[in-house]
C-alpha cells in the first residue's frame, strides 16, 4: 500500500501539484486520471523519486520515501517496477537483455536462473519468440510488453504505469490493460496507472483518483464515477462520452 499525504510540487514557483493526498491499495489497479497537463506524470515522478517534492509525505507501507537516506531509498527502489510512457527500453540491448538488466544489476541469480526468470516474465506478457530482437525491431505494443516484463523482473511490490495505452490502437490497449490487471492480481502488487482512456477507467477502475490542474478533485471507483456530482469530473467524462 502506498499512502500520499498533502503533496505539494512546484516548478519555477508555479504549483503543479497542490495538497494531493491519496491511498493506493495492494492487489488493486489504482488509476490516476485527468486531462493532459493535469499533473499525472509529475505526481508519478514524485512518487518514484525522479522529482523531489516541496512538502508532504509518500509512505511506501509506512516508509517515508522522500525522507529516507540514499541506501534506504535504494531498498525501496528494488521493490518498484515502472513502465514508462514510451516504454524506455534500452536501445542497445536486446529484448531479453532488457528484461534481464535488473537481474544482472541487482540479483545474485546465476546465468541460467536469470534466463529462466527472463523467460518467465516474457511469458507473463505473452511475448515468447522475440528474445533476440532489438527495441527498434518491434512494434509499440510489443515494446510496452517488454517494458512490463522488465518492470516485474525483480518481483516488485509496487508497479507504476505512465499512460500504458498511449500511442497504441484500441485492441492492443485492451490487451495491455488486461495484462496489467492480471499481473497485479496474481502477484498482489500495488499498481498505479496514469490514464486518460475511458475504457481503461471502466475496465480497471477499482480505485480512481481524478486530478485536474494539480488538485485531487475526486476519489472513488468505476461504479460511482458517473454519479460523482463533481462538475470538473463531469466535464472530463463528457468529453469522452459525447
Amino acid at each position: 500500500m502506498i499512502e500520499i499525504k498533502n503533496i505539494y510540487k512546484s516548478f519555477n514557483d508555479k504549483y503543479v501539484l497542490e495538497d494531493v493526498s491519496a491511498i493506493f491499495e495492494k492487489g488493486k489497479t489504482n488509476l490516476v486520471i485527468g486531462a493532459s497537463g493535469s499533473g499525472k506524470s509529475v505526481l508519478m515522478k514524485c512518487l518514484v523519486g525522479l522529482e523531489s517534492i516541496d512538502q508532504g509525505q509518500i509512505l511506501y507501507d509506512n516508509r517515508d520515501f522522500a525522507n529516507l537516506g540514499y541506501e534506504a531509498k535504494k531498498v525501496v527502489r528494488r521493490e518498484i517496477g515502472m513502465l514508462f510512457q514510451g516504454a524506455a527500453l534500452f536501445d542497445s540491448l536486446s529484448v531479453e537483455e532488457n528484461v534481464g538488466f535488473p537481474l544482472k544489476m541487482f540479483s545474485d541469480l546465476h546465468k541460467s536462473e536469470q534466463m529462466d526468470r527472463i523467460n518467465f516474465c516474457l511469458k507473463c506478457v505473452n511475448l515468447e519468440n522475440s528474445n533476440k530482437k532489438f527495441p527498434s525491431e518491434i512494434s509499440g505494443g510489443m515494446k510496452k510488453r517488454v517494458g512490463i516484463a522488465r518492470a516485474i523482473a525483480l518481483n516488485p511490490e509496487y508497479l507504476f504505469c505512465d499512460e500504458p495505452n498511449s500511442g497504441l490502437d484500441p485492441l492492443t490497449s485492451r490487451v495491455i490493460d488486461e495484462l496489467i490487471k492480471e499481473i497485479t492480481q496474481e502477484f498482489q502488487i500495488t499498481t498505479i496507472i496514469n490514464s486518460h482512456d475511458m475504457k481503461t477507467v471502466m475496465d480497471l477502475g477499482d480505485s480512481i483518483c481524478f486530478i485536474h490542474k494539480g488538485i485531487m478533485w475526486w476519489q472513488g471507483n468505476n461504479k460511482e464515477i458517473m454519479n460523482s456530482g463533481n462538475p470538473e469530473l463531469d466535464t472530463f467524462l463528457k468529453a469522452y462520452l459525447f
Binding site: K45, R78, M82, A88, F90, M105, F106
Partner: protein
C-alpha cells in the same frame, strides 16, 4: 545559462561520477565495449589524418628550408618534434572531439529524452556513473594509444612524402629523426593526450546527459559537445605548454 553556472554544474557532474560501480563485472564489460567503440571505430580516420598531416608537414618544411644553408636532416627533426609535441595529440584529439564527442553526446542525449536514464534511476542504478564512467575510463586508455599510432603514422607519412618527393634522402631522414631526441617530448605528449581524452569524454557526456526535450535538442547537445570539447582542448593545450615546456 551563464558560463559560470555551466562550469559549476559540470564540476558537480564529474564529482558525482566518482562512486563505486554497482557491479564490477558490468562496469568492466561496459568499459571494454566503449574501448572498442572509441578505439576501433576511430582507427581509420586517425590513420588517414596523421599520414596526411605528416606528409604535408614534411613538404612544407622542405619548402621553407630551400636555402641549402642548413642540413637537410633538419626537415625530419622538425617533423619529429612538431608531430610528437603538437600535431599528433592536438589534431587527433580535435578530430576525435568531433567523432567520439558527438557520438557520446547523441547517445546519452537520446537516452535522456526517451526516459532511459529515468528508467535507470528508478531501478536505483546511479545512471551518471553507470553510463559515463566507462566512457571516461575507456577514453583515458584508448585515446593515448591512438595518439601513439598517430605519431608513428605521422612520421611514416612524412618519410614517404619527403623521400618520394626527393626533398630528403632516407639517410638524412633517419639521421634527423634520431638527432638530439628528448624523451620528455613523448612524456609531454602523453600527458596532453590523457588530458584531452578526459576533456572529450567528460564534456560530451555532460552535454548528452543533461539533454532535455526531443530530437532537436539531441542535435544541439551534440553540437555543443563538439564545440566545448574543442575549446577545452585548445585552452588546456596552451596551459600545458606554458606549465611544462618552460626553458
Amino acid at each position: 545559462m551563464s558560463l559560470f553556472t555551466s562550469i559549476g554544474r559540470y564540476t558537480l557532474f564529474v564529482r558525482g561520477l566518482i562512486s563505486k560501480p554497482e557491479r564490477f563485472s558490468v562496469f568492466w564489460e561496459r568499459t571494454l565495449h566503449e574501448m572498442t567503440a572509441i578505439g576501433v571505430g576511430s582507427l581509420g580516420i586517425v590513420a588517414a589524418i596523421s599520414l596526411s598531416v605528416g606528409a604535408v608537414t614534411t613538404v612544407q618544411t622542405a619548402y621553407q628550408l630551400i636555402t641549402g644553408l642548413v642540413p637537410r636532416s633538419i626537415i625530419s627533426t622538425i617533423l619529429r618534434d612538431s608531430t610528437i609535441l603538437e600535431l599528433a595529440p592536438t589534431i587527433t584529439c580535435l578530430v576525435l572531439a568531433g567523432k567520439v564527442g558527438a557520438n557520446i553526446a547523441s547517445e546519452l542525449g537520446n537516452m535522456s529524452v526517451s526516459e532511459q536514464i529515468d528508467a535507470l534511476d528508478v531501478m536505483g542504478v546511479n545512471s551518471a556513473s553507470y553510463l559515463v564512467l566507462p566512457k571516461i575510463v575507456a577514453g583515458l586508455f584508448v585515446i593515448p594509444l591512438l595518439i601513439i599510432i598517430a605519431m608513428t603514422l605521422g612520421i611514416i607519412g612524412g618519410y614517404w612524402a619527403g623521400v618520394m618527393g626527393g626533398a630528403i634522402s632516407p639517410r638524412d631522414f633517419s639521421e634527423g629523426i634520431l638527432n638530439d631526441f628528448r624523451g620528455f617530448t613523448v612524456v609531454f605528449s602523453f600527458i596532453k593526450s590523457i588530458t584531452f581524452a578526459f576533456i572529450i569524454t567528460s564534456i560530451s557526456s555532460f552535454h548528452g546527459y543533461y539533454t532535455r526535450g526531443g530530437a532537436l535538442e539531441v542535435g544541439r547537445s551534440s553540437t555543443k559537445a563538439v564545440v566545448y570539447s574543442c575549446v577545452g582542448i585548445l585552452f588546456s593545450d596552451f596551459i600545458l605548454a606554458q606549465m611544462l615546456l618552460e626553458n
